[in-house]
Symmetry: C2
């Protein structure tokens, strides 16, 4: 049996959520954590939860919950976006949860609650909202985190302080399932409609700063320069070379953010701060990579006469999905799209990693067209979105 879900209402709500921060080409969204668009979206979600017969609750971090009575299964994801994101990353899991919770109440199904975690996309840290909720990161430490422009989290979250009702007890939930777009090329390439996630890779994230000497780009001879950009470039080259002996083909590492100071064409940059992020399914390998990164940074700082400093090491360890929830998802997928689903790991990080510390947790994926995500072009065929909703609803009904 399957609850009487309403695919049109689900798609309509998904499009409505995109209207908060709709931007860029295609179905792009600009809705970073604590932005005006993000807070407006969270206000709308709380209203939707209430209309669905759930009790809306918001904690100090800005995580928004719609609570059923008594013990319940929690569905959800995050509604903040990357600086340039798509309409489905995070949003899909919340709106699917909302539809299933609502239809479940309408049809006397199981108790289902819904959550939208805050700052999954890491404006301030890594899955910041669910990290705090799950106790991986203290609220006090979270408050001191800065975004790339120097804004402190404690100041940013003030903008939604009027919504806060207090802490939400995780003890009331029997488990958590997050439906998400794959954000990679596997399902799109194989033609499968559903991926049941086996585990989520771990991630480490650290800001690194090299500081040399800012000076005039015309009068400072090359051999006397202490050029921070040259240090970053040399570090990157050295690191790529040294990591070859440590990584697997699935390991990834990224320098995605860089800020030169003063960032002017006629000035030898005296300072460079950049993000260093690495991911792998094996905790030991993550630690070995950290050592390679630190050693390379120290070596470059010495060779280029730089000072080397870094911010806090943020991150999450790899996790495996709960067997019972995963089996329910596999059974449902086998029923709804027989022969068109697969088991797979998640190379992307998700709130599920944090929530799995508190309760049984699992995930399912739908395909991303061309594997594109974290970009305006991110998209999934609506038929695949509805298939995901049906599989999740069926799995929930069997739990």
């Amino acid at each position: 049996m399957c609850p009487m879900i309403n695919p049109d209402r689900f798609l309509s709500n998904l499009h409505h959520l995109r209207s908060f921060g709709a931007a860029g080409v295609g179905r792009g969204v600009v809705r970073p954590a604590y932005s005006e668009a993000d807070i407006a979206a969270r206000r709308w979600l709380a209203g939707q939860f209430r209309q669905a017969g759930l009790t809306a609750r918001v904690d100090a971090m800005g995580n928004v919950f719609g609570l059923a009575e008594g013990p319940s299964l929690l569905l959800g994801s995050h509604s903040d976006s990357q600086p340039e994101g798509g309409w489905l990353d995070g949003a899909l899991g919340i709106i699917a949860g909302l539809e299933i919770a609502r239809s479940s109440r309408e049809n006397g199904g199981p108790q289902v609650s819904v959550a939208s975690f805050q700052d999954e996309e890491g404006r301030f840290g890594v899955t910041t909202g669910s990290s705090v909720w799950s106790g991986q990161l203290s609220d006090a430490r979270a408050c001191t985190l800065l975004d790339h422009t120097g804004v402190q989290l404690s100041d940013a979250r003030e903008a939604m302080a009027d919504m806060v009702t207090g802490r939400v007890d995780p003890g009331q939930f029997t488990g958590f399932i997050e439906m998400h777009i794959e954000q990679g090329p596997v399902l799109d390439a194989s033609g499968d409609a559903i991926g049941v996630v086996t585990g989520i890779v771990g991630i480490r994230d650290m800001n690194i700063t090299f500081e040399g000497q800012q000076n005039h780009a015309g009068t400072t001879p090359m051999h006397l320069r202490r050029d921070a950009f040259q240090a970053v470039s040399a570090f990157n080259t050295l690191l790529n070379d040294r990591l070859r002996n440590v990584v697997t083909p699935q390991t990834v590492w990224t320098i995605g953010h860089i800020a030169l100071h003063p960032n002017a064409s006629s000035i030898v940059p005296g300072k460079a701060t950049f993000s260093m992020q690495w991911r792998d399914a094996d905790t030991d390998r993550l630690t070995r990579m950290e050592q390679v990164i630190r050693d390379a940074a120290v070596d470059i700082a010495t060779r280029h006469r730089m000072t080397f400093t870094h911010g806090p090491l943020l991150g999450l360890d790899p996790v495996v999905m709960d067997g019972r929830l995963r089996a329910a998802l596999s059974d449902a997928a086998g029923h709804v799209v027989p022969g068109r689903w697969r088991e797979m790991p998640s190379g992307a990080l998700h709130d599920t990693t944090n929530v799995s510390r508190l309760m049984p947790a699992a995930m399912l994926f739908v395909p991303s067209i061309n594997g594109v995500s974290h970009a305006f072009e991110e998209d999934t065929r609506e038929e695949d979105l509805v298939t995901g909703l049906r599989v999740l609803a069926r799995a929930v009904s069997t739990l």
Copy 2:
């Protein structure tokens, strides 16, 4: 004989000019072209020119002149600063010119005019104001130039449109002398008080963009990435290697500005725009370097599956200083600080490069403490500033 210059008034005016945009540590200044502080400083300068008995004139670019009657010698420099600059870079030459023009009028000396050129520091181009005044760059082309944040020059200069009186005819000037801080380590290291400039190096400046594919930093395998930061880093490494066969120990090249897009730690950067600047005393070498740069960019674009585009090639050719003006400066230096001056080339670019296309032109340098410039820490001993003023005044009195 020497005009009755007033060193206290000179230093006092120099400190007053610093008050527009005073910032940072020490005697730092933030007064980029067309900023509020820059326009306020130009308004104050125009007032000072009038008080000194000169006629104040401002052209469409925002170059500010104080004109003596009939044919006159032009002294000056620029009053805009780097995004983080010092109190003397440019300011010194204008305030020295103001003091000499004023004292010359007070004491019946020669006709001396003064100029403050606009955007020497290259918010929009390379010595933009004097480039347009000297006819090296058309006003129409200048208007289309963009700064690093995308602001167009034509929009930026609107903020000082009320000051504009019209074009200033270069035909009225018999020559141009620019006094400037050295901005390098030579005089500070040798203990000389004055440098008489023999020639100014040439410069080329071009923005380069690599565009690949923005994507998720967790789900995109390393071998499938088209990471624009990796392309910049590889380009930098390749370029440093290839330039070794082309350059001299005096040649310099700099990547001082970089903008990744979208510049987030969890996203493979799809686009990187950076500044590429190179300087040398030989025009042919500048052209050979351009070819090396273009070839390296094309090779990297191919290897990393990027598109390569670039902005307009801006620049100025090397120039030699006028013999008669240079001799007057050397004679004056020999009189004021016998045995404590030297002839030297300028590794920094100056407005004199442009003005030398129109009339005989020369420069003199005073020492920079530790050779530091284009930084808040830039400074020169006040005794050295006054020595420079005395040498310039003496040279002017003999012309």
